[in-house]
């Protein structure tokens, strides 16, 4: 907050009928906002880089279980990033995400088995899934809301069923082993972790670049205006399909990492039992937020790991926690911080600090 006082606030010159102190307060508040906005980009960047460096050190200071859980969290965070782009930013409840995730996992694993280097399969699986996502999203031309949800749900389930039928390639319901790619010189868990972390960082960076700015705002405009956005010269249809393609790409990239992490995949992994946690992650992270996916993924993973040994009670606990969260925080867990931030108590704190700094 030290840079706040250095802001050139010029309340005295303002030709205003208001008492000087009030004007000073208003200007100070405004200046605080500007300063926060100007400084926040840099500050956030530094925080992100520091966090990234700390995360890179993780395998050297903890056991393989922790490394695995953090890797899984990152994979889910990437997948949620794509899901959030579709559900939150473009406002389309497309429920084929688990299937696209599966396409990434199977696409990469099958390609690796056929001799393609793993790192090459990541973008390849992503592009394949993006094309498939456009096909799945095509009903979006005519369908809205719940109808789109049900159509995409059906298509997604059909894709997972297809994996069962394509037994010669995918091993059918019995599943298939994944050849794990390892960087030379380190053990498998750490190697997979480094790849997951790197890819996750790249995906977060790319999606952030895409969403902060013109494209993200247009997506939101299409979400809120629908066909009316045509009067702004924006093709709602094209943006909806692009959202599907991007989210499919991100989902498949996460899927390729997931296969590497699990080392064994089978179709039943990608049914409703995956889609539901994915929905939870989007919801908890807050639909339409950028860093929410990380929070959502961490929440879901902690929940899953925490309730792991409860058997039947696990599903109950899972359902009940989900219901309680929705009932208490209909805007997701991240809305809690926003609610707290805009609460009267926090507002008073901000105001007092701003005015004391101005008067001292």
């Amino acid at each position: 907050m030290s840079e706040l006082t250095t802001q050139p606030a010029a309340p005295a010159e303002a030709p205003s009928a208001l008492p000087a102190a009030v004007t000073a307060g208003i200007t100070a508040n405004g200046a605080a906002g500007h300063a926060a906005r100007r400084g926040s980009g840099l500050r956030k960047g530094i925080v992100a880089i520091v966090a990234l460096v700390l995360l890179f050190a993780l395998p050297f200071v903890s056991n393989t279980y922790v490394v695995f859980v953090v890797s899984l969290t990152l994979v889910y965070a990437v997948s949620t990033l794509g899901f959030n782009l579709l559900v939150g930013w473009s406002g389309q409840i497309g429920l084929a995400h688990a299937a696209l995730f599966a396409v990434g996992a199977y696409g990469s694993s099958v390609a690796v088995a056929a001799g393609v280097p793993f790192l090459v399969t990541i973008p390849l699986a992503g592009i394949a899934a993006a094309l498939l996502a456009v096909v799945i999203g095509f009903p979006a031309i005519r369908l809205r809301g719940f109808f789109l949800a049900i159509a995409t749900l059906a298509l997604g389930m059909a894709i997972v069923e297809l994996l069962n039928f394509a037994a010669p390639i995918t091993g059918g319901g019995g599943g298939m082993n994944v050849q794990v790619f390892a960087l030379p010189g380190i053990n498998d868990a750490a190697s997979t972790y480094f790849i997951v972390l790197t890819v996750a960082a790249i995906m977060f960076f790319l999606v952030r670049r895409a969403l902060v700015g013109r494209f993200g705002r247009t997506l939101q405009a299409v979400r809120d205006l629908g066909q009316l956005s045509g009067s702004l010269g924006v093709s709602a249809l094209r943006y909806r399909l692009v959202a599907f393609a991007l989210s499919g790409f991100v989902a498949a990239v996460a899927g390729t990492l997931y296969a590497q992490l699990q080392t064994f995949i089978f179709p039943a992994m990608f049914q409703m039992n995956l889609l539901v946690p994915m929905l939870v992650m989007v919801f908890v992270g807050g639909a339409g937020s950028l860093w929410g996916p990380l929070i959502g993924a961490a929440f879901a993973i902690v929940l899953i790991e925490f309730f792991q040994d409860l058997g039947d009670a696990q599903a109950i606990a899972y359902g009940i926690v989900l219901m309680v969260v929705i009932a208490l925080l209909p805007g997701g867990l991240t809305s809690l911080f926003r609610t707290l931030g805009s609460s009267r108590f926090a507002q008073r704190l901000y105001r007092r600090r701003a005015s004391t700094e101005e008067t001292s």
Binding site: R142, A154, A315, G319, A327
Partner: protein, 287 residues
């Protein structure tokens, strides 16, 4: 062939009834209820337990129906209504969470073994000639399904039903002219719970039900509702029956593994080709 058709009509009646339950709630409360089959399962298990404890059959049936109604109303009042103003996504998730919790709760209380609701006529069959026998419970399913559809259609012609149609048509205007939308959504959930209880009970008196039943049943219910465009009662009912017959034909002549995929394909085709349901334009009796 006849046996296949009857089996198709039987399971088709279950799908049709559940589809109707989904449509009723969807119209009045604007929620696609993924927990509908679970509500029916809990109610049915209550009935099965009572019947197992020596309670007369019809009393157990009535208790099952009342449980279904109560569950529906309680869920609406306690959970769903406050979320309505936050849009579609929390509502959708809430029903999914509810479905998870209810299924797991059922498993915890009653176990995961398949159960059946023994009716006085269970096991009896009627010879129809040519060595083909039709189970009485199959006939019960079909007849009750038909009666249920007629009853729901009749319900929508009563004053309450007319108000529900008004809310479905335009919520804000309906409220302006004095329709109590909250009361109506509770009624819709109650009716939905009732139909769901009937559906699962019908399945339990003819076949076995377990905690795995709701997951597949709800998908088929949604397929039926989709075929009716989520509005048409007739379309939903006919869609459910057609789906049941397709299922049985696929199961008999292709493979039982393909049944589910075919159902999914049907949804997709209907939504792409006729997003308003395949009876749209016929306008027989829309809700």
């Amino acid at each position: 062939m006849l046996q296949t058709l009857v089996s198709g009509l039987e399971s088709g009646s279950w799908f049709a009834l559940l589809g109707l339950a989904i449509v009723v709630v969807m119209k009045a409360a604007d929620v696609p209820n993924f927990a509908m089959a679970d509500i029916g399962l809990v109610a049915t298990y209550v009935g099965i337990s009572l019947a197992g404890a020596g309670v007369p059959f019809w009393l157990a049936v009535v208790t099952t129906l009342v449980t279904g109604i109560l569950l529906g109303v309680v869920i609406d009042v306690a959970l769903m209504r406050r979320l309505a103003k936050y849009g579609h996504f929390p509502l959708l998730l809430m029903t999914i969470g509810l479905s998870l919790a209810l299924t797991a709760l059922t498993g915890l209380v009653w176990g995961h073994d398949p159960r059946s609701f023994r009716a006085p006529w269970t096991g009896a069959a009627i010879e129809v000639g040519g060595g083909v026998a039709i189970g009485v419970s199959q006939i019960v399913s079909i007849v009750v399904g038909l009666l249920g559809a007629v009853a729901i259609s009749a319900f929508f012609t009563t004053p309450v039903g007319a108000q529900m149609r008004a809310v479905a048509e335009n919520r804000a205007t309906a409220r302006l002219v004095g329709v109590n939308a909250g009361r109506l959504s509770a009624i819709a959930w109650g009716v939905g719970g009732l139909i769901a209880a009937v559906t699962v009970m019908l399945q339990a008196q003819s076949a076995l039900v377990s905690t795995l039943t709701p997951a597949s049943l709800i998908i088929y219910g949604f397929v039926a509702a989709t075929m009716g465009g989520f509005t048409s009662l007739f379309g939903t009912f006919a869609g459910g029956l057609v789906l049941g017959i397709i299922q049985q034909l696929v199961g008999t002549y292709i493979s039982t593994a393909a049944q589910f995929s075919v159902a999914l394909l049907v949804v997709f085709l209907v939504l792409v080709l006729r997003p308003d349901g395949f009876t749209k334009g016929m306008r027989l009796r829309d809700v």
